[in-house]
Symmetry: C2
Subunit: 410 residues, 2 copies
């Protein structure tokens, strides 16, 4: 029997991948830091940097940069190659779809303006968004190493089907990854070595927000990052463990919407009562503040505007915000008791609630998470724009980070 793998025990190509990830996430500004972070000798770090440069993935400054107030020989700066290869990132959400080219470091190189409607036929929508991405590739002439898609739905693994596309006119169970991959093939999106791209990646949008924030945003450096966010309706969560998305064994982990945060609360479609999902989303906020929630589209925006302009002046808004903060704190405390993350990042309405009154949120969490340890636990707001697009790109970059040589060879 000949072993199928020719790599060294799944490790890819030694230190190349880890080194690229360090530069990619901005944690290795110089070869000296790279040496320390990798735990290798200067010789190895130098060789690795040289190979990454030869591959066109990173650049090394020709002139050394003098570090302020330090002695010794100044370092050459390492950075991702701004003219290097990109990946195709696509996003479908309630308000439309968008395609972009994203380089290493999470830099958005080019993006479409973004459509405003999503049609009922998933194949049609994905054909359009992939077509838009392919146009961007032709216009910019960039080399493309992969493609990732963000959808507002739990994505079941290993099938890659969208189980509950939220606020999209799509049926449940659409095999989004398969369709996405087929669209890439039909649009003849060129892959690393000129031929057509063979595989697309797809995942839930909040998972991708968490991934993007971990690599390039408020979650950088966290070991266990918990991300909780709202869209127009409902609440989602995601967890990044040791730099990898924890999607669970069937891709459905962190379905956090159905934690009980109010035993006397309103009924939820899950069969329970007072779930985080229905008690802390924009609809709950607008109703609690006595406002007409209006149509679902734009509900998040209206809730954010109301909170940001009227808190804490308007008593109804203030009380509504405090109610939601208390319930969110309860839900987060429950998650902290189970997951024990070392950082939490909030998005959507939740991040606005945090900005409105962080003390109150911390107080509730400290009360209900055991031993009051959450006091040491940073709770932050999302720091990135287009984070789920950047996250979709991270999905596509992953094989490159795992084994740069193999990924570039196609």
């Amino acid at each position: 029997m000949t072993p199928t793998r020719t790599t060294r025990l799944e490790r890819g190509r030694g230190a190349l991948g880890p080194a690229l990830e360090l530069v990619h996430t901005g944690r290795a500004p110089t070869r000296a830091v790279l040496t320390a972070e990798l735990g290798v000798t200067r010789a190895t770090a130098g060789a690795v940097a040289a190979e990454l440069e030869a591959l066109g993935l990173i650049t090394v400054d020709s002139r050394p940069t003098a570090a302020a107030g330090s002695q010794g020989r100044p370092s050459h700066r390492l950075s991702v190659n701004p003219d290097g290869p990109v990946v195709l990132a696509a996003q479908v959400h309630a308000d439309g779809f968008r395609a972009a080219l994203v380089g290493l470091g999470g830099r958005i190189v080019a993006t479409t303006p973004g459509s405003l409607t999503v049609e009922a036929d998933p194949v049609h929508v994905l054909t359009e968004v992939v077509g838009a991405g392919a146009r961007l590739l032709r216009e910019t002439g960039r080399r493309c190493l992969g493609a990732g898609l963000s959808v507002p739905s739990a994505v079941a693994e290993p099938e890659g089907t969208a189980l509950n596309p939220l606020h999209l006119p799509w049926p449940a169970g659409v095999p989004v990854r398969e369709i996405f991959t087929r669209c890439l093939a039909e649009a003849r999106v060129p892959g690393p070595s000129g031929e057509t791209l063979t595989a697309g990646h797809a995942a839930n949008d909040i998972n991708l927000v968490a991934l993007a924030e971990h690599r390039h945003g408020a979650g950088r450096g966290a070991r266990d990052l918990l991300c909780v966010a709202t869209g127009h309706r409902g609440v989602g969560g995601a967890l990044v463990l040791d730099g990898r998305l924890h999607t669970g064994s069937s891709g459905l982990a962190l379905e956090v919407g159905h934690l009980t945060v109010d035993p006397d609360g309103r009924p939820c479609h899950c069969g329970g009562r007072g779930c985080l999902d229905v008690e802390t989303d924009p609809l709950a906020f607008l109703e609690a503040a006595g406002r007409d929630p209006g149509p679902e589209a734009g509900m998040l925006r209206r809730a954010l505007d109301l909170l940001r302009t009227e808190y804490p002046a308007d008593p109804a808004v203030r009380d509504a915000a405090h109610l939601l903060i208390d319930r969110l704190g309860l839900g987060l405390a429950g998650l902290v008791n189970i997951l024990d993350p070392d950082r939490i990042v909030l998005g959507g309405l939740h991040s606005a609630l945090l900005e409105a009154n962080a003390e109150r949120l911390h107080a509730v969490m400290g009360e209900r998470s055991l031993w009051g340890r959450s006091g040491d636990l940073p709770v932050l707001t999302c720091a990135l724009e287009h984070s789920s697009l950047v996250g979709a790109a991270e999905l596509a970059w992953q094989p490159v980070l795992d084994d740069p040589v193999a990924a570039l060879a196609g």
Copy 2:
């Protein structure tokens, strides 16, 4: 700067560790299987097996074992060396303490009869249990590679303090790992190279049950294993991800007792109502069945006996069991929604509830965990005796599995 590590990027010594783990967990009965599992060539697997044998960790049958009904050259059987080194495992719990020597494969080589009382002074107790372990080592003449301790308390990392010793006359915050290590030094427990052992490990008992079940019991082969169990009072949980215990960033993950499983339930010391902790433990069962719960000691045993002898004949017992099963199902469904494990192992009263009526438990879980996916999710009972003792040993074996050569050198 010279790098502190001389290993190759933290991987220890190549394939040695992974190979030992495969034999240790019984997943590599022959060199051929080892070859396939490691994904290396036969040459490498053979060399690795030879080195592990030379280290005295495994044995290779001199005579090949003919596999029934297969052709080709028969394999030599690989197994852990029954006369090889051991680790010292110690356990402190409500009903006493115990020390044991555990070999590779989770085999208990020697054990003390077990004391029946635990005194109020942790130092005294740990001195006694370590002393008993040291006696076992002297009597058997075994070489000892490490030591692990199981305590019925959450253990905060990285300090190693027992935050809430349950049903022990100990104060909160006892630095158990430090005390354990000091006791090992004072008892002059000899380490791998003759000198005194330098470090002990300590962890929560349910975490260790999960680890032991994953390596040697009902959880073998699971990727994401969730374990939920009761003691006399209260409920604990643990999660093994990719073969490693997930303890969270401060060691307090899987504090699952305070999930809400009955909005109208009894108040819990956590401030909530109807928590898993107070609604599915032996006390709740005995009370629901209309029995006098009696003293805390032995409560688990009485609840188990009642359930096993009177279910389903006695209506009060049947109704109580169904009530607890429904609540347990609700709690497990909540955990499944968050963690998405691929196997669940139940212990204590919970495993007896599963044995009593598995269909009912599955039905409740399927109803409340999203998309009814838990139907595919195996829910099993613990398979091991002395599992937390074996788990404590696993803790001590871990450095050996990570790098056998370094661990044996001391």
